[in-house]
C-alpha cells in the first residue's frame, strides 16, 4: 500500500499527482523534497520531460513558468472550457494596464517615472490593485531626495501570463523599429 518498495516506478506518478494538486507551480527543489531521501535534480528533470511527453497531445499540458512547473489547459481546449466558466475574470482599466505595462517593461521604476511616462498622476488605488493582485512589489528605493520606492513585477505576474522570464514578454518593436527611443532595454 505504501509503495516505498516500488518508489522508483512510482515517483513519476507522485510527481504527476503533486503537480496536478498544487495550487501553485512547484519548483524543482520543492519537487525533490517530495521524496525521502530527496531525488537528485537530474532525475526530477528527466521525469518532468517524460511527463511532458506523455501529456503532449492531451487537453492539459505540463509547462514551466516563472516559479516552477504546473499543469495547465492546452490552448485547443479553451473553446470548450469557456462554456463552463460562469464569470469571466476581471478586466482591468486602461490606467491599470498601462501602469502594469510600464512596470513590466521599464522596471524598476518609481511612481514618478510612471507618471512621467503616462503624463498623469498615478493614483494610489492603481498601485494597490496591482500589489494586492500580487503582480508588482517594491523592490527597493531610488537614492534620490525622498527615496522613492522602486517597483518591479513578481513571479506570480509571470506565472499568470504563463511566462518563464521577463524576456518572454512580447517584443515592443512596433512603429519605432530601428529608431533610438532613448529608453533603456530590460536587463
Amino acid at each position: 500500500m505504501n509503495g516505498e518498495e516500488n518508489v522508483v516506478g512510482r515517483y513519476v506518478l507522485v510527481l504527476e499527482a503533486a503537480l496536478l494538486c498544487s495550487s501553485q507551480p512547484l519548483s524543482i527543489s520543492q519537487l525533490r523534497r517530495l521524496f525521502d531521501p530527496e531525488l537528485p535534480a537530474p532525475r526530477i528533470h528527466q521525469a518532468l520531460r517524460d511527463l511532458q511527453a506523455q501529456w503532449k497531445e492531451r487537453g492539459v499540458s505540463l509547462v514551466q513558468v516563472a516559479s516552477g512547473w504546473r499543469f495547465q489547459s492546452a490552448p485547443w481546449v479553451q473553446a470548450w472550457l469557456e462554456r463552463l466558466e460562469r464569470e469571466p475574470g476581471p478586466r482591468y482599466s486602461r490606467a491599470v494596464m498601462e501602469t502594469l505595462a510600464i512596470i513590466a517593461w521599464r522596471q524598476p521604476v518609481t511612481r514618478g517615472d510612471i507618471e512621467e511616462i503616462r503624463g498623469v498622476t498615478v493614483s494610489s488605488p492603481i498601485l494597490k490593485t496591482l500589489e494586492e493582485r500580487g503582480w508588482i512589489e517594491a523592490v527597493g528605493q531610488r537614492e534620490t531626495p525622498g527615496r522613492p520606492t522602486l517597483f518591479g513585477t513578481t513571479r506570480s505576474f509571470l506565472d499568470h501570463l504563463g511566462l518563464r522570464t521577463l524576456c518572454d514578454l512580447p517584443a515592443l518593436d512596433g512603429h519605432t523599429e530601428g529608431k533610438e527611443d532613448g529608453i533603456p532595454a530590460l536587463t
Partner: protein, 274 residues
Amino acid sequence: MIQEGGAIEHPEARVNGASFSAWPKDLYIPPEALEVFLDQFEGPLDLLLYLIRKHQIDILDIPLADLTEQYMVYVQAMRHHQLHLAADYLVMAAWLIELKVRFLIPVPETVGDQEEEEDPRWVLAQRLLAYEKMKAAALRLQDHPQQGREFLVARVVHDGPASPFAPGVGLADLHCAWQQMGRRLQRSRHHRIIREGLSVRETMTRILKVLKQQTHLTFQELFLKERGRSHLVVHFVAVLELVRESLIEVIQIEALGPLHLRRAGQNEGLEGRA
C-alpha cells in the same frame, strides 16, 4: 483658434472650402459629450497623440504652435463648461506653452561651449513616443494569454487543508469529534441512542429546503421523481418524522383530494389554490 498663417499642413476636415482642424470655438459642445469624449483618454499625452494621429502630423516634426493651440481648445472648452479638469491637463498645457516659447525665442548664444539646447519638438516627440510605446505594451499585455482567461490551471482536490486560512476537515476528524463527545457525555447522562437512518434525516432536510422555496408540496410531487420502494419508504418516514417534530403539516382540503405538505404554522396560501 487656428491662425491663418499657422495652419497645419494636413487639415482633416473641409467645410465650404475652409479647413478645420479643431472644433470652432463657438461651436456648442454639450458638456456630457465633451466629458464622454475626454473619458476616452488616459490623460493629456493620450489626447495629444490622438490629435497628432488625427491630423497625420509627423511626430518628428511637430508644429508646436498649432498643436498647443488645438490642445488649448479642448482645455478651454472644458473650462468653459466648468467640467472638472484634471490638473494633469493644465500641467501639460503649461509645459506645451513653455516648449512653444523655447521654440519661438532662440536661446541667446552667450555661453559658447554650453551643450546644445535640445529641440523642444524633439523633447515632446520623445515623450509622446515613449508613451505610445507603453500604450501599445498595455494592449499587448491585455491580449497576452492569461490564466483564467486563455488557459486554466489544473487544480485537483486533495485532502490537505483547502487553504491556509480555511482548515479542512476529514471524515475521521468528524467521527472522532462525535466519539469524544459521546464519551464525555456518557459520564453524565444515560439516554439511549436511537439509530436513525441517515437517509431519512437527509430527506427531511431536503423537504424542508424545498418548502423554504415553495409554500407547499403535494405528495405526488414528492414521490413522483423517486424510484423504487426504498425511496418511497424513506420519503414517507421522513414526512412522518417531520410531522412528529411539528416541522411540517399535512393537509387535505377535500375528501379524497391530494395531500399537501406545508411548513408548520403557515396559514396562508393554500385555500386560494384549492
